[in-house]
Amino acid sequence: MLFISLAWRNVWRNRRRSLLTVMAIGLGLAFNVFLRGITDGWHDEMVDNSVRAEVGHVQIHRAQYHDEPSVSKTLPDAGRVERVIRELPGVVGCSFRVIGSGLASTADNSSGVEVMGIDPAQEQSVTTIQHAIVKGAYLSQNGQRPILLGESLATRLKSSLGDKVVLMVQAADGSMGAQLFRLTGIFRSGAPELDGGVAYILRSDAQTLFSLGDRVTEAVLLLSSSRQVPQVVEALHHNLTGDDIEILPWWEVEPFIKQFIQIDDAFFYVIALIFFVVISIGILNTLTMSIFERTREFGVMMALGTRPVQIVRLVVNEAIALGLVGAVVGDTLGSAATLFFAKHGINLGAVKAGVAATGITSSVVYTQLTAANLIYSTIAVFIVVLAVALYPAVRASHLKPVEAIRYV
């Protein structure tokens, strides 16, 4: 206890220098926490955008559907899947879709399309396609066979609202299916694959077109938070046994976003590293100077019988004291800043174009504070502090008492 007091009081001998060091550590840590908060918020937003545009948080299909899609690979026992889903906590929306491919034709042109047969109400609970309608209306069960096309597809087919569109497909039983649809809505989602290649029709119409009876291709789930995906996937695996089913988290369906996040994270770590290097230099400087100034004192201590390893411990304790105070300052500042912007958001209007490239359409990003973020950053600070303290500590312990005592 005496030695701890000794270390603590030694730190505050030069109040100004120690405060500066503590501020350096604190600000560096706070910046890291905040930057991580922005990055986390940003990434979550990206994921959310992609998830809510089409992919959902979790997709369930017949086994191997994702690798080799085929309209005849329908979801086995959809009723059972639905019952299991309805009982899972954390599921906010669920949509059962029919997916197939075919040819969309108008009088002027034809184009290959992916056909999505949806139940409009169910689909609304998962994706935001209904908000992307720019002309006409979202699908509804209105008695005719409505079709929704993306803006660039509609342009390519030269079709306007009210026009007839023929869908020609290969049905699940191999026969050729063809139906006439009426264009009731045009959407612009911002995602080129959707706007140029997808046609939405009613699920019942799709089941007729593809000769599916009452079968569907996939179940898409929206969860209350993307952080719940792993446990929901696990719960699904647990409840939907059998190897005729595949349960895919969003990152297996659209790995691009996860890869982007990983690259982004790598950048973050580089920046964090740079900060920690700067912090280390500060701490190293402070410790080295304070040891230098106390050479004679160390000499006396060693003459009195203090062992080298106890000197090392003393210096390391002093570094830990600096680190502790710095960590408190840094964590407090960083958390405060992150929580503030978590509530009020950061306006990215100025860099909106660049942001849009990552799939985020709103210009406000909300930062996120996670316990993991704080803990890892703080641990990193301590590791740095300890690593940096070792050199001066060992140097101090190697002082020769005879010379040190006489040091003026």
Binding site: L103, G112, V166, A172, G174, S175, A178, Q179, L180
Partner: protein, 238 residues
């Protein structure tokens, strides 16, 4: 049976191919054919009538089953149109969909277009002999000419030594992966020509997928009115 004069010619690959094309493709063809498509998930059989003026014009109409009866395909050179009676529409197949399967079979739209471009688009090299379907055959490797609008990396063709009819065509993609094989069987004399009456296209990359064409009535070299090969004809009630 040997045709006099052939044995005396040198075994020259382009000549063999030329001769094979002559044997297989008359100036005109018309008849009926039954197409059975098998996949691991389903199987169906379509009855069709067809007319062809080689190498540029083809007209095919489905006559059975009822759900698809009246569906028709018209090909003029490299343009294709489909007619769907259920929606009363003629749809032109865009170039982007040429590699899609025709009528759900293992033949692609492109296959129908490229039927007789062997001589025009490929270079041929003789690569030994082999036995196919019990008959001695020339084995020929055909590679696309530069800039030829052909999707394959190369083909391996087996042409009967006696009758110059093909027995087997193997299709390989750019990377050299064996994709599918067309097998000619049941060679019979029909309307004064030797002709393989069963054609089977088997997928190699998708096991269990195959398409079998069995010809019924066939006549060759009759004259066919040009009105057959029109979009109006596509929409004729059947």
């Amino acid at each position: 049976m040997a045709v006099p004069g052939i044995a005396a010619q040198s075994a020259d690959a382009p000549a063999i191919i030329h001769r094979a094309e002559q044997e297989l493709r008359a100036k005109t063809e018309q008849g009926t054919v039954s197409m059975t498509v098998r996949t691991p998930e389903w199987q169906r059989t379509l009855e069709m009538q067809y007319w062809a003026v080689n190498p540029d014009k083809t007209f095919i109409r489905v006559t059975a089953p009822a759900k698809e009866a009246g569906t028709a395909t018209l090909r003029l050179e490299s343009n294709m149109w489909n007619y769907l009676p259920s929606v009363e529409r003629v749809i032109k197949i865009p170039p982007s969909l040429m590699l899609q399967s025709w009528m759900g079979s293992d033949f692609t739209n492109d296959d129908l277009v490229r039927e007789s471009s062997l001589e025009k688009d490929y270079d041929h090299k003789l690569a030994g002999e082999a036995t196919q379907g019990g008959d001695r055959c020339y084995r020929i490797i055909s590679t696309p000419k530069p800039n030829a609008p052909v999707v394959w990396g190369h083909l391996v063709l087996f042409v009967g030594k006696d009758d110059f009819l093909p027995r087997r065509e193997e299709y390989y993609d750019d990377k050299g992966t064996f994709q599918k094989v067309l097998i000619f069987e049941d060679i019979r004399r029909v309307d004064d020509r030797l002709y393989p009456m069963r054609w089977k296209m088997e997928s190699v990359t998708k096991p269990g997928h195959e398409t079998l064409l069995v010809y019924g009535k066939l006549t060759f070299d009759r004259s066919i009115p040009s009105s057959v090969f029109t979009q109006e004809n596509l929409q004729q009630p059947f």
